[in-house]
């Protein structure tokens, strides 16, 4: 156990020096280093806001079922199959009735695997888009597990894009926006200590539509009663026919109306939108045009002239801030579904700095205490164990830096704990050597068998901690995950520093001083 070949000594030195260098690169502010990675600080250390958003899928799923009714009708009509009494039930089933003689054929169509146009088959999942049951000629269809996954995936991707656009528009520092699970999105905003504006912006779906207000009963398309956002009027009957939607907008900007001195939002339409808007306003002179955002009327001006220029103005009871935000929402497009903020954690920058200071203070104090204790207990071998411990710390931080891991406050606690527990391996070995020396006169042999016999206990001890760290990594979230990372990586660096660095130093020392009595 005490013998090291030259090549091994060389490799250990190179490996250690490499990570010491990476460790140091965290503290050197220079661009010309060939290695410029730095450890990431978690939001709890650098300050910032963490938001967990959940996509409200339910209305979209109902809508999708609703939308599939016409295609079902059309598809089966072409096949000369008569279906009737289509409806969507509360618990999200698409229900229709069929004639007795058609049942078998319908089932065949729904169950087909090749080129099934009405009930898509996913060979990858071995599943159809819809699951169905049939009872007394009544078909009940619902999205299958994979059909739902497809919908949710699409929603999540769309929502992610829109969120990214909105967050980017605000211009925060390096936002991190990632998917979580099937219907959630994490937004991390480093350095942001008041997330209320972003929360406001993300809380709005921003579904914009231009629709006429109905005064008589001339509309046949259907209508609904909507309230006014600013409460200037209580409500109005608005046509369901959408003249323009947010999709037709290519730009929106807040500005000051020179005549009324009011803050307004100017918008520009795309070609299709401009044409449709022109046509509608030509026909609708004298009518009121409601501008509806998320089911509320922002304003409803009377159309005085046909607007064919492809640009227009939304007035309302805006402050400059609210006009800016509305313009931003319109530019970044609508969310596919409403979002709920289900978790929020915000840490101010000075608390973050305080935590860093406290963590580093605790680390240094804990480190020094352990180092002095080891020297007190083992003298020269204490210094060897301490050297290994210091290099262990460099290795640990170096590896975290190399993999750009995120360091959190519990992560720092994990490092301190590693410092305390890392010496355990050396203690096990040294104690064993002491025992061996009682029955063995040859010190070299005693050292050798001390290392050999303590091996199983050292490995056992570290595997138990590693198991705990791995479970924590997969089950924990946020800062706690940071703890599991440092604890887990710490085990490997500890084993390396004990079995390579400390053992190498021990072997050098013991071989040089083998004539001396009572080495340890």
């Amino acid at each position: 156990m005490l013998y090291f070949s030259k090549i091994r000594i060389f490799l250990i030195t190179i490996f250690t020096l490499f990570f010491v260098y990476i460790f140091l690169s965290n503290f050197i502010k220079s661009d010309d280093l060939f290695f410029s990675k730095k450890i990431n600080l978690g939001l709890d250390l650098q300050g910032g806001s963490y938001l967990l958003l959940e996509i409200d899928n339910a209305p979209v799923i109902t809508q999708k079922l609703q939308n599939s009714i016409p295609s079902f009708k059309k598809y089966f009509k072409e096949k000369k199959i008569d279906l009737k009494n289509f409806k969507i039930s509360e618990d999200k089933f698409l229900i229709f009735e069929a004639k007795e003689e058609d049942i078998l054929q319908i089932k065949e169509i729904l169950e087909a695997k090749e080129d099934n146009l009405i009930n898509n088959y996913y060979p990858r999942f071995k599943a159809h888009k819809f699951d169905f049951v049939e009872k007394n000629n009544l078909f009940k269809l619902s999205f299958s597990k994979y059909g739902l996954i497809e919908i949710k995936d699409a929603l999540q991707n769309q929502a992610l894009e829109t969120i990214r656009r909105r967050v980017d528009e605000i211009g925060t520092n390096e936002p991190n926006i990632i998917k979580r699970g099937s219907d959630r999105i994490v937004v991390e905003l480093p350095g942001l200590d008041d997330p209320s504006r972003i929360k406001n912006l993300l809380g709005k779906t921003a579904n914009l539509s231009f629709r006429f207000i109905i005064q008589g009963s001339e509309e046949t398309f259907g209508s609904e009663k909507l309230i006014f956002e600013d409460g200037s009027e209580s409500n109005a009957i608005v046509s369901k026919r959408i003249i323009l939607s947010g999709e037709n907008l290519i730009d929106a900007k807040p500005s000051m109306d020179s005549e009324t001195n009011e803050t307004v939002v100017n918008f520009t339409l795309d070609r299709v939108g401009a044409k449709r808007f022109g046509k509608a306003t030509t026909k609708g002179i004298g009518k009121r045009l409601a501008i509806v955002l998320d089911g509320k009327i922002i304003s409803a001006p009377v159309v005085r002239d046909a607007i064919v220029s492809g640009s227009g103005q939304i007035s309302g009871d805006f402050t400059f801030q609210s006009a800016t935000d509305l313009a931003l929402l319109l530019r970044s497009g609508a969310l596919p579904a409403p979002l709920n903020i289900i978790e929020e954690r915000t840490v101010g920058p000075d608390l973050g700095q305080d935590s860093i200071n406290a963590g580093i203070a605790a680390l240094i104090i804990g480190f020094l205490l352990v180092i002095f204790f080891m020297i007190f207990k083992y003298k020269i071998f204490g210094i060897i164990a301490d050297t290994a411990l210091i290099l262990n710390l460099f290795l640990l931080v170096g590896i975290l830096t190399l993999f750009e891991a995120t360091l959190t406050l519990p992560g720092i606690a994990g490092i301190i704990l590693t410092v305390g527990m890392a010496v355990d391996a050396n203690v096990l070995i040294f104690e064993r050597i002491k025992e061996e020396l009682k029955n063995e006169n040859n010190q070299l042999v005693a050292f050798d068998s001390g290392y050999e016999k303590s091996k199983s206990a050292v490995i056992d001890a570290n595997i138990t901690t590693l198991l705990a760290a791995i479970i924590l990594f997969f089950m924990g979230s946020g800062p706690v995950k940071g703890f599991s990372v440092t604890l887990g990586v710490g085990i490997f660096t500890t084993l390396f520093s004990v079995y390579f660095i400390a053992r190498l130093l021990t072997s050098i020392y013991v071989i040089k001083n083998k004539k001396k009595e009572k080495l340890i």
């Binding site: 954690r345 963590g359 138990t464």
Partner: protein, 299 residues
């Protein structure tokens, strides 16, 4: 054999004490329960620092009660001017909620405070976090069980697992007794305790097994004591260095890590104790002998 401490003389006494402590802990956990923080209960937490020293906790409590937030708790948090405010939030979907509280507090307290930290956890998330916390702890216990089953004979596994449960239950019992807050970092602490306690037990068991092979004529009652003594200096040194690290987190690592380091300190203490006074007596009462390990080797 070194200056021997007769640990085995006190097996019975400490077993009774442990039994009482576990019993009391279970009673506490069942009837008093744990003080779950916002991570697991849901709600809002605000860490607030006042810049005007004349503002007292009573001022703060009064102004918060005027806002009608329901059941608000306010307590000191570390330094004199830091406070922790907790309440169960009602209108979770109002994005301006925190700002409204801030502006209402400004009306009554003036511009003499700042929010240092805000945490809002919705009911869905908190119940998920609780569930995954329980799963994590159960999984880690199961993983340890499997690990030690592979490494040792069943008598040893039983001893180690009972010792683990002992440590986890008593640590949680103490948290219940003093109404200390259980949050995500406490789960991390409990998992680390599980690892540490196991580690400690395994080191002694390793020695017990080695000695069983060596001495066929010594009874397990005596043999466990020899093994404990032989590994004792390691047990003490490792506990001391780990505790040195933990106490420095406790005293210097800031308020946020207090609960975590306290749980770990308790865990290290009970983990060390249970390796000696729970795990070993179980080997004794199961009459482990040289045959136990030799039989296993033959299989």
């Amino acid at each position: 054999m070194i200056n021997k401490i007769p640990f085995n003389k006190f097996y019975k006494l400490f077993n009774v004490i442990s039994f009482i402590m576990i019993f009391l802990s279970i009673i506490l956990l069942l009837f008093k329960g744990l003080n779950f923080g916002v991570d697991f209960k849901g709600g809002t937490l605000i860490e607030l620092r006042v810049t005007d020293k004349s503002i007292t906790i009573t001022n703060l409590r009064d102004s918060l009660n005027q806002i009608n937030l329901g059941d608000v708790t306010v307590k000191k948090f570390g330094k004199e001017k830091d406070y922790l405010i907790k309440f169960e939030k009602k209108d979770f979907n109002n994005p301006n909620f925190i700002n409204e509280i801030k502006s209402k507090l400004t009306t009554s307290l003036g511009n003499n405070f700042e929010f240092r930290r805000v945490e809002n956890v919705g009911p869905k998330v908190s119940s998920e976090l609780l569930k995954s916390g329980i799963i994590a702890i159960s999984l880690s216990l199961a993983a340890m069980l499997i690990y030690i089953w592979i490494r040792f004979e069943w008598q040893f596994s039983l001893g180690a697992i009972v010792a683990l449960f002992h440590d986890v239950i008593i640590t949680l019992g103490i948290f219940s007794l003093f109404s200390l807050e259980i949050n995500l970092s406490i789960v991390a602490a409990v998992l680390t305790i599980v690892g540490y306690s196991m580690n400690d037990t395994v080191v002694i068991f390793d020695r017990v097994r080695e000695n069983l092979k060596k001495y066929s004529d010594i009874k397990i009652f005596e043999l466990s004591n020899i093994s404990i003594n032989e590994t004792l200096s390691r047990t003490i040194i490792t506990s001391v260095t780990t505790l040195l690290a933990l106490f420095s987190i406790f005293f210097f690592g800031g308020e946020i890590l207090k609960g975590f380091s306290l749980a770990m300190i308790l865990g290290v203490f009970f983990g060390t104790y249970s390796s000696i006074y729970i795990a070993n007596p179980i080997l004794v009462s199961l009459k482990v002998s040289q045959k136990t390990i030799l039989k296993e080797d033959k299989d």
